[in-house]
Subunit: 345 residues, 4 copies
């Protein structure tokens, strides 16, 4: 059994880790920390876990995380970089669901996150935890930077085209839409029901932290200079993320070959479902599951390819992906404990 | 492996059966019928099942349901009574998720459902499939009448008090609220998003089919005459049911004893969670799971006891309960394949 | 023109007052205060008011409210009682949308609201602002205690029956449901979209401040002792309130006479719509309007009468009612500026 | 008073016309037709209109529409072209909210709408009813083709840039999102609450009828060849439309000049609100109002300009715009009867 610790279990990625790990056949939940909720049974905060999880939150100083085999950080940015060095030194693997190790360029990190990086010596070692593109490195990693939710959809949609040299990398457009849970479990007016229900809006259009993360990753797959316009929007739904990606083809290719390119790329990826050409994936087809679905379009047969990508932002976009990484790191089948079927309706 | 057939798999209880049975360790999905969708792969209608269920719908005449061990009817009222006799004769067990065998009084059935009963000889044999109250009979049954969603909440809330002779049975009030999926997957204006979102209303207040079903079942647990006012309401949410039950105490009893009565009643029921006295269960704490949660209140210490009951109307209120019955009928632990944790948020 | 001031305009009742008063033909918006937002143009906080309201919030000390003809308090409990004495002394009328003057019994107020009353000398003078029951007193009042949203529905539903002596006043049950905006515009986890969407729950079942307010008002219309069970619930919709009221008839009366009683009671009330007997009013039929709709039922012809009542909690349940009171206080037709038609769909 | 007839009043644009026209100071509602609902009081179908509209639906043959001054067609495509010739001959003005007269090229119409055009002689005369771009022609028109909801947002966003020759017209991208009411009041499974709530998806990505309509209109403002990728999406909200428009700048221009261009273009348009540069308009800021709001962005200062546009799809995107046209046609201020403030929250 893998002994698992969770730092910061009071947010949505934390409770989602608990939902997944509580029934994972190879995991023993060992500790979950929260400075503020020390002593509170987890199931008192999340009644969905009554009878399933009997751990209580403990303050970080009481929890001996060094006894764990792996620790997940479901925390705000900045926490993992503070605690990772000691854990790694104690032989504990670390999976950070926040951004601390996602950017290889320290200056870029510090510019966008506005905090100094306190463990720069680990940046190079950290492995970007997107299994579909990085499976081998993840299997060998001690420290995982779990991708952001938006970047997962953008990369899995654009990379096959970039690698094949089919598109103009300098003018990629990603019009993305996220359910409200992506904003986290924080008391804020903007995400109150009465503010975000029956409403739709864009945010951060001038510049969003997920742009440099995605652009840097995409650059690994092309020699062209990457130019990415990323526009996030807030959708009045709890879970779900939809990316509508636009790229201009620079070579002749027919629809069947485009489709074949994606099917080939993901033929060994259990969690990427390449739907038939021209399909319209729905976010709800992934609700609660680790599946990401995508479909290709070419409006009126022109030179623009449109890729539609959906996932559950809390599963494949966060906690499910983290568990998928853990499975790889411990030599398990990457789908272990992740076979939940989406809840539809 | 239990060979399972489903008649009428295109509605919400049908797809929910598929979600649960596809990962049930002792089940082999064998046939799913739909006259209208003959030949259509199930996953084309419900993309959440892509890669999980590879059956196609078949017309009833092609599907040889007599080879199944058990057949679920996820159909409108009237279908199960037509097909059950032949299936039972062929040694196939039958679980009807509709109302055909819920009412022991044929005339009452025909009055409320406005169709003649075509298998009256089976009415007496049919077992009412509410495991928490009827476990032994279900285990021996060939034919199950799976309870309605509302009646499940009302019975599990009222019965402990009725059995203990603590309340006035003649003036029970059940103010119930259901998510929209309870209305089924039918093209109707009243349940369009634009009609039922951001809205709340009662319906059928003059009289609803679940009133005689519930009253007849409650009468089994008391010698008093049962009088039940049942008021259903439609809530703008997909899944979930909340019953707010009111009963007048006729004997002195303190809160602790009330609580103990419920805890004792359900101490062997894995799917009934008696929450601490004075709790407010939320429907979302059961979303996608087979759990029913309830809590007791006694406003300002008076003689009225209020019982709050929540469940997922498609799981414990329908398909999950049906699978729970199947487990009992085949000698399995009743929780087999039903350990999904609620999706929260 | 009536010069109007608003204290505390940053919440939902505040912005709703602005929506209604900005187009009221006899009103001149003069000042709106907010300690925290001093200097911020109102339309920067509420973009729906861009081009319509050009006031900025001002801190209470800068705003000379004594120049107004009437001041609305859209504030938390405790603010109006602090400022009302000076305003009244300056000849300014006061309408409090909070609870400061709703309870005639000071001890009851202090018990439920847990603050000392600082203007007890005004309690007796304050007029309860429910025009349909209190029109003449409101017209003469200097100080209005605007009713709570729930109490409005309960009183307009129960009072005709109580006055006519038809029901058992000692066991009234009010099962009420409110949209989330009733919780106000406060940064709290419980009313986040991801917490309250796709969910339904009761709250405060052990005891809610609106119970003593309602019970005290109902007692004015009967010589029986009033016993009221009030159960509030939270509905995943922004606006709207639905009360399902249950009362036991103690005299013989037929449905037509019941209906006639309500139609007669409200025949001069423009904002109470007595729908045909057996109707099911929907909250959305009042969305954004000052209309309250109700309908009577008598399930299976028994001795329980069920009254269904709907309103928009922010309009007839708060700001619209306050404007209706203002109209009466200044000798206008009570519907002036309140003829908005509900937004459906 | 303008005598108004409405053909097809049972859909959402029909009831929205009623909401607006019932309180329009210069309008007398004269007839509303529905073949299916002949005799039914309008307020029985739409209880929001109880006490406000006392018309009943009448079958088309009974309603003498030739006595009206203007007739609105809130019907499916094909109805207006059948009835318009006779009405125009009788001196009645016609405003069609469907597509019959939106496309100047008959063949394009017939290709996309798959019906023969039965009044081709009127196509040339029909005026495209987008007041902000076409005010003078509308004022003189007898026959108005009211724009589609999506095309309104795309045109008002792109036209200033096209007219100024600032962008590459051949690669315009419009990523648009609509509330569910845009699908109309039709009994269909896809727009049931349980199907479209808590979900997000694209549709019609291969090609949508609003693409040729928009492209043809845009072509009027540029000599470049117009290439438009239009991707519609369905948002789980009742009302509201958000267009995210992308265009590549082909000339140097700074942000202030871009902003000034839009402010100048719409300085006389009461219903277009050019928000400060870098704003994020929300759909709810237009809910129930005829206002369209837009804001400009230039992500990371690059050569792509992003225009965010919001409106209420049933008001500025349909019925409100139609009333605005009517006002112009009858010499009224275009805002007459259209000053409703958006409902927020």
């Amino acid at each position: 059994m893998i002994k698992v610790g969770i730092v910061g279990g009071t947010g949505y990625t934390g409770v989602e880790l608990l939902r997944l790990l509580a029934v994972h056949p190879d995991v023993q939940l060992t500790a979950i920390t929260s400075r503020k909720e020390d002593g509170l049974p987890v199931a008192d905060m999340f009644p969905s876990l009554r009878g399933v999880v009997d751990l209580a939150f403990s303050s970080p100083d009481k929890a001996d995380l060094s006894q764990c085999d792996v620790v997940f950080f479901a925390t705000p940015h900045g926490v993992a970089m503070a605690q990772a060095p000691a854990l790694l030194a104690a032989g504990v693997k670390v999976i950070d669901l926040a951004a601390d190790f996602r950017l290889k360029d320290q200056a870029t990190f510090e510019k966008w996150y506005k905090i100094p990086h306190t463990a720069p010596e680990l940046i190079a070692e950290a492995v970007y935890g997107l299994p579909e593109l990085n499976r081998e490195d993840i299997a060998k990693a001690r420290l995982i930077a779990n991708p952001g939710c938006y970047p997962t959809t953008m990369q899995l949609g654009f990379v096959p085209l970039l690698k094949a040299g089919l598109i103009d990398a300098s003018h990629l457009i990603a019009d993305c839409k996220s359910g409200v849970s992506g904003a986290g479990r924080k008391a804020e007016i903007g995400t109150l029901f009465s503010e975000s229900s029956d409403n739709f809006k864009a945010y951060g259009v001038h510049g969003h932290r997920h742009t440099p993360e995605t652009a840097a990753q995409l650059a690994r797959y092309t020699e062209q200079k990457v130019g990415l316009i990323f526009t996030p929007h807030l959708v009045p739904m709890i879970r779900g993320m939809h990316a509508t990606l636009y790229a201009r083809l620079t070579k002749e290719i027919d629809d069947a070959a485009l489709q074949a390119l994606f099917e080939e790329t993901y033929k060994d990826s259990q969690f990427v479902d390449v739907m038939p050409f021209g399909s319209h994936p729905e976010t709800r087809s992934t609700r609660g599951s680790n599946m990401l679905r995508l479909a290709l379009h070419r409006p009126e047969g022109g030179d623009t390819v449109v890729i539609l990508v959906v996932q559950d932002n809390l599963v494949k976009g966060a906690s499910g992906q983290a568990v998928q990484c853990m499975n790889l790191m411990f030599g398990l089948d990457e789908a272990t404990g992740l076979k939940q079927i989406a809840l539809l309706p």
